[in-house]
Amino acid sequence: MNLFLAAAFSFAVTLIPMAGSAAEAPQPNVDQPAVSDLDLPYVYTDWKQYTVEDGLPNDHIFAIDVDGPWVWIGTEDGLARLDKRTGEIRSWREKDGLPWRVVSAIAADPDTGEVWLGMFGGGLARFSGGRFDHFHQLNSGLVNDVVYGVCIENENIWAATTAGASRYNTRTGEWTIYTEKNAPMEEIWNYGCSYADGKVYLGVWGSGVLEFDVATEHWKDYLDPDGEMEIDLYRDDGIVHVITTGVSYVDKTLWITTYFGASRYDGRHWRGYFEKDSGSPSDFHNAVKARSANEAWFSTDKGLAQVADFPTDTWVVYTTDHASHTGQAVISRGDRVLETRTIPPNIPHNYVLWTAIDGDDLWVGTSKGLAHAKGTGYFPGLRRGADQAETQKPEKQETNRGGS
């Protein structure tokens, strides 16, 4: 019987190519500019790692935000503040007034100096003047205490929670709750939040990305066009999957991460990224942070991945081999590796949870510590290799501790 089945199926599949391909993979939306393998991106080589030995309250880093000289770090057991000028780290735990131990999201308001903390099961907190103000689902309009993302939109604070989004007006004290009742949330499991240019973007697990226009208070949703969980039908037809984990909106370009790949949308063209067709080391993305329309950083479970130059599909992936105390930067164009550079250890663990951009520098949160990448001589896009090597001579190498 099995032989019969195999024969029948083989008969069918043998005939298929005679009929031609029913559907051909779409081509990239952006024309590839002329580029040579000598055109390479900037590679970060000057890294410093921080762990509990340096004063962090915990090595499991969930969130980072930078505000002037301060780097705010949310961990699985406390909040930390690193002074970039001195390297000094101060931390707060529950015994110090932090309302809950797990800090899963941070947004520092550059206008007020207030730091907003999303807490994993602990609600939302405002840290200001040395005091924590605690907002939770029993004393405020916070829709749920499991907060995955926080962002600041004008005088409003948005909290992406596991059961909807809340918007808190810091001037009037008014709360607005968004769920499937008043927003196009097929599911209510909010995960990420990003604000720029009058638009708030929510990454919603099971509901793609939602765009909130602040001026009109209208919503727009971005869903996987094929609507199927087990496939992505076409790469560049929209968001690659509705299980969205991160969103970053910069230069009118939207970068999106999922546990199935990543997407970029410039308002007209979509581009999908998978491990199999790009420089990304994994399809499992915990978060994304964009520096520009052409550059974004992906926090994956197998390293820190960067789209270094979107038009040429050039990537850099950073990993550290703890056993050999060396780091690696793999430069690729699409899935073709151009160069693998051995560099000093970079990220303290290859399971990356968060990336924050600080001018030319980077701060990277992993499940085993924090990393600071100094961007001396950083340049966007690509340069001819010889010029770049000259530009990138590190000022000093002793900043690397040789792994955690």
Partner: protein
């Protein structure tokens, strides 16, 4: 024009092939295309997962050629080669958790339980909660497994008793997330069993992923639960996708119906429970003629039944709770409709029979296991359960018993380390021999075992396998969809045009 001709010829070839092979069904005797690259014994897994915080175990990952053993004629967008297929390779955990040492001072080994056990009125459950009987049954099954393990010496390595830490999951809006946080960070349990409601389960596993703690689901049949790509989730019950596939084959391939109607609960269980039935019916050329939703716990279903009557279906499928199903069935018969009535597994309950009376004997329900399988272990479980609780174990009790035993097995072998407990299940090659039957975990760590149909015969439930009812199935291809495309390309020397 040229493409149109090509497409027509292509579709004709596929249809011809399917007509030829469809009556003979499956890819292999087990009906599954899940496979492991090589079998792994427990010792090999334990040795490989003994790594430092920066290493990832060097073990082969399970691979499947076909997600959920879907027949080719019910695959989504079957005429197109998808750019990417998901859930075909086992998920990895690449974090540092395996290096955490076992804590020294412990009085018990805590296992979390999350289930609907206390009645509430909440938005999360769509108003008045209704799943407590299922949650209580689930709790009973889990407790029994814990007590038996403790009777056998508890946690063997340190002679500590197991402790079930019980949390209710249907309180405030999104409460399951808060409960998992409490279980992970305050109760410090080693893994969690739960839950039943699809929405609450989804909320819970998002928290489990971030907290890095294993969740074993024994009662949520929502297909999308496992389709989230979270490496911390295991399910030990056949889901609604599998039950839909069996029902599709029964309705169309065996009975030859062409017009089927759906009436379902207006909640996540009803909405996602019929998803593959809706899609599969359309893909088989028999779109569902009408789908009507009703509020859970309603009394009057005349609006839905009137609309269904107008659609003149040949058969009606209900997906919802047993009580609602019985009321709907009675009102359908009172209305004079005599179409065959099919139900989801929640109708296979004493409550359904009690309310539906003689009408119950006409109903076929899908069911995730066969409680009448001849198995001394199952017999002992049924006997002990009835002796302890005074009732027969239902599906929620039996699956919770299996899931808890599977978890205890993992803890006994892995020790008290959340990541290693997860690894023992992720890399397990052999099916778990449960009282509900063999539970093979596929690449997505979902129960890929057989599902059944059941019918009340006036004296008791009778359970039927696909083979018992001679239900033909669609052809399950032994290659991935992309491999199939490669085959066609290589057969013609690489030419696809």
């Amino acid at each position: 024009m040229r493409n149109t001709v090509k497409d027509t010829l292509l579709m004709t070839c596929l249809i011809l092939a399917l007509i030829v092979v469809a009556p003979f069904a499956r890819a292999d005797d087990s009906g599954t295309t899940d496979n492991t690259t090589e079998p792994l014994d427990t010792e090999t897994v334990l040795e490989a997962i003994d790594v430092d915080s920066h290493e990832v175990p060097d073990l082969p990952l399970k691979k499947s050629s076909n997600y959920a053993s879907s027949a080719v004629d019910v695959e989504p967008f079957g005429h197109v080669e998808p750019y990417t297929e998901h859930f075909l390779e086992q998920l990895e955990y690449t974090g540092p958790g395996r290096a955490k040492p076992e804590p020294e001072s412990l009085d018990t080994v805590k296992i979390g339980f999350l289930g609907p056990i206390v009645p509430t009125v909440s938005v999360a459950t769509g108003g008045q909660s209704h799943e407590e009987p299922l949650g209580i049954a689930m709790l009973r099954g889990a407790r029994m497994a814990i007590d038996e393990a403790n009777g056998a010496g508890g946690y063997h390595r340190r002679q500590l008793p197991f402790e079930l830490v019980v949390h209710n999951d249907n309180g405030l809006w999104g409460a399951s997330g808060n409960e998992i946080v409490d279980l992970a960070y305050i109760d410090n349990v080693w893994a969690i069993i739960g839950t039943i409601d699809g929405a609450n389960s989804h909320i819970a596993i998002r928290v489990a992923l971030k907290a890095e703690i294993l969740m074993i689901n024994t009662g949520d049949t929502d297909p999308t639960f496992i389709e989230t790509n979270i490496p911390w989730v295991v399910r030990t019950i056949g889901d609604d996708r599998q039950q839909n596939y069996l029902l599709l084959d029964y309705l169309y391939r065996k009975q030859g119906y062409e017009r089927v109607a759906i009436i379902r609960a207006s909640n996540r269980y009803g909405r996602f429970g019929v998803r593959e039935l809706l899609d599969g019916s359309r893909r088989l050329g028999h779109p569902i003629v009408i789908e009507m939703a009703y509020p859970v716990g309603g009394e009057d279903f005349s609006l839905q039944i009137d609309r269904i009557a107008e659609a003149e279906p040949q058969a009606i499928v209900h997906w919802g709770d047993g009580v609602d199903g019985a009321r709907i069935l009675n009102q359908i018969r009172e209305r004079g409709l005599d179409q065959p009535f099919f139900c989801s597994d929640r109708c296979a309950s004493d409550e359904f029979v009690s309310l539906a009376g003689d009408h119950a004997e006409e109903v076929f329900s899908t069911y995730p296991w066969n409680p009448h399988r001849e198995d001394p272990v199952l017999e002992r479980f049924r006997h002990d359960f009835k002796e302890r609780y005074g009732v027969e174990p239902d599906t929620y009790a039996a699956h919770a018993y299996d899931g808890t035993n599977l978890l205890i097995w993992a803890i006994q072998n892995a020790g008290l380390n959340r990541a290693k407990i997860r690894d023992l299940l992720a890399y397990r090659s052999d099916p778990w021999p449960g009282v509900t039957g063999d539970i093979p975990l596929n690449a997505a760590m979902d129960d890929a075992g057989e599902v059944f149909m059941t019918r009340w015969d006036g004296e008791g439930w009778r359970y039927y396998s696909r083979e018992d009812l001679e239900i033909p199935g669609g052809f399950i291809a032994p290659e991935t969809r992309q491999e199939r495309q490669s085959l066609t390309t290589s057969d013609t020397g690489g030419e696809t045009q």
